[in-house]
Amino acid sequence: MDRIVNTTEPVTSQMTADIVVIGSGPGGAVTATLCAEAGKSVLLVEEGQNLSLQSVPHFSKEELLVKYRNAGICIAFGPSKIAYVEGRCVGGGSEINRGLYHRAPEHLLDQWRAIFKVGDLSLDRLMPHFVACENTARIEYIPGETPPISTRLRDGAARLGWQATEAPRLFRYDGAGKSGRKQSMSETFVPRFLKAGGRLIADTRATRLMRSGGKWCVKALHAPPNGPSQRIEISTDRIFIACGAVQTPALLRRSGLTKNIGNSLYFHPMLKVVAQFDGDVNNPDDPDPVHQIREFEPWFGMGCSISKRPMLGLAMANHAGHFAEIDQHWRRMGIYYVQAASGRATVRNLPFFRDPLVRVWQNEADLGKLADGLKRLAEALFAAGAVAVYPSVPGYPVLRSMEDVRKLPATFAGSDGSMTSVHVFSSCPMGGNDAICATDSFGRVRDADGLYIADASLLCGPTIVNPQGTVMAIAHRNATHAVESRFN
C-alpha cells in the first residue's frame, strides 16, 4: 500500500505547538493551512492513516477497510435506522467522496442568520472564501460529453419539465474528461499546509482535552498500523477540533463540554434504486456521473451514483436472482438516489466503549418525503427510458411501469436499514443564539477560551446540496477571522 511518511518530526510522548488542529478533512486542512501561513506553529493531528489518493482503488473493499471510519459500518439507531459513512484518513471525507461541489444557497445562509443569529454571514460575505478555497482545490465541469448514466437522468427530468443541472466536481480533468485527478485535501490543502511549515502526525487519536495553567493539553494515542502504540500529550495555546460531525461532539463531551453539543446532528438520508435501461449506459471507463434533479429542493434532491458492478451488487442485494440480472444486464444499469433533509440525531458516549452512539428520530413527514421522492425518482427514470427500476428497499418489488410506482406505499418504514447517508453535519451549530448554538458565530466554543470547532459540525442545518464546499468556505471564513483578530 502506498503509505506516505508523514511526520516532519518524530512522535514523542510530550509535544508542543502554538495551535493544534485535530482532524485533517476539509474543515481541518483549510484551517491548519491558514494558521500555518499566518506564521503559527501548527500541529495537524489525524486519527487515520496517511495514504496517497491512489493507494487503494476508489470504492473498493480495500478502501473501506483503510480509509473509512469503522470500515464503513456506522449506524444511527432509532425507530428508523440510517447507515452512514465518514472518512478516517489524512484528508478525511474528501478522500472517499466523489467531490461533487456546490456553494451554499443564499436562502440557506439567510435562514441560518435568522434562526441561529450567525453574525456577518451572507452569500456575498462568504463568496471570497468560496473563491479562495476553489483556487487551491479546483472545481471543474466535465469538459466533454457527460456519461450516459448522467445524461439519462437529465433527459428524464427534461421530459417531465423538471429542473436538472450538472454539478461541478473537485476535480481536474485531462483532455476530454475521461481521466484526471481528484482535488482531495491530500492533493491540495495538506501539501500547502506542509509547505507553510505545518507538521502532520497521522495514526493519532485525540482521546481527551484538558485545560490547566492557561494551556490546553491534548491527550492522544499514537497507534501506527505496523508499530507499537504510544500515549502522547500535546501542550498548546489553541485547539481547532475538526473530527467530523460525530467525532467532534464525542471528543468535546468526553472532555466535559456538553452545552448544545451533540444534540442536533443531521443527515441527508438517502434511498437508492437501480435502473435498467433499454440500451447501454454503464462503462467502467466513464467519469463519475454528475447530473442532479433540483426541482424538488429543499424537500429532496436526486442524483446518480457510482454504478460499478460491486456497487450494483450492494444496491440489488435485496432482490432475488440479482447476480444473474447484474451478470447479464450490468451495462444497461445505473444507480440513482433520492436524498432528503430530515431527521435529527444525538451523539453520546457510552461507558466502557470507544465509539459514540448516534440515535436518530424521523417523523412521519420526513419518511413521507422520502417515499414521495422515491416515486418521483422512478418517474424520472421511466421518462428517461428505464425498463425496470429496482428499489434498494427490502420487500419492495421491481417496478416496470408507472402503474407499479403508483402502488408503492405513501410512507416509508425506515426500520429496514435501507436508508443511507454520506453527509453528516450540524451537531455543534455556530451562531449568536445561546439557546441552541454550541459556538459563537465564528466557531469559538462557549466558555472554553482558545477552543474552536472547524468542521461540518458548525453548519446550522442540512445543506440539501453536497456540503463540502460550504464546510471549506466556513472553515476559511472562521480561520481568517481568528488570524485577523489575533485569536482574541
Partner: protein, 130 residues
C-alpha cells in the same frame, strides 16, 4: 480433528461460504469464499466497538444454534443443513435474526462482487488518479 465448540471466525467463514454457494451454485467457491470471509472478519473488526461485541455474541449464538438437533455447531454442518439454518434465521419473525443475516449478506455480496469484478473498480480508479 474439528473442535465441537462454537467459533466466531469459523462461523463467519461458513456463513460467507453458504451465502456464496446459494448465489453461485455452479461455480467453484472455496478460494473466493475464503478471501471474502477474511474481508468480512476485517470489516467486523473495524465496526463500532459496542456493535462488534453484540455481533460477536449473536454470531456465536447462531453457531451454537444447531447443537440441540445436530450435535455440532453451524460451521461443521453440511452445506445443505447450513443453508437451511441460514434461511430459518433470515425469515425469522424475531427481528434480530434477519438483521444478523442481512449484515453478513451485505458484506459477503459486496465482497463477492468486488472479488469477481475487481477490474471494474481498478479501471475507473486508475483513470481518475493518474
Amino acid at each position: 480433528m474439528h473442535s465441537p465448540l462454537p467459533s466466531f471466525e469459523k462461523c463467519v467463514q461458513a456463513i460467507a461460504d453458504t451465502l456464496i454457494r446459494q448465489e453461485l451454485p455452479s461455480r467453484e467457491t472455496p478460494e473466493i469464499a475464503e478471501a471474502i470471509g477474511i474481508y468480512v472478519l476485517a470489516a467486523h473488526a473495524g465496526m463500532p466497538d459496542y456493535l462488534r461485541l453484540a455481533f460477536r455474541i449473536l454470531t456465536l449464538v447462531f453457531d451454537a444454534w444447531s447443537f440441540p438437533v445436530a450435535g455440532k455447531p453451524f460451521h461443521q454442518l453440511s452445506p445443505d443443513r447450513r443453508a437451511d439454518q441460514l434461511r430459518h434465521w433470515q425469515f425469522s419473525r424475531l427481528k434480530i435474526r434477519p438483521a444478523l443475516i442481512s449484515f453478513y449478506r451485505t458484506l459477503t455480496f459486496f465482497g463477492l462482487y468486488s472479488e469477481l469484478y475487481k477490474q471494474d473498480v481498478e479501471c475507473g480508479s486508475h483513470r481518475e488518479h493518474n
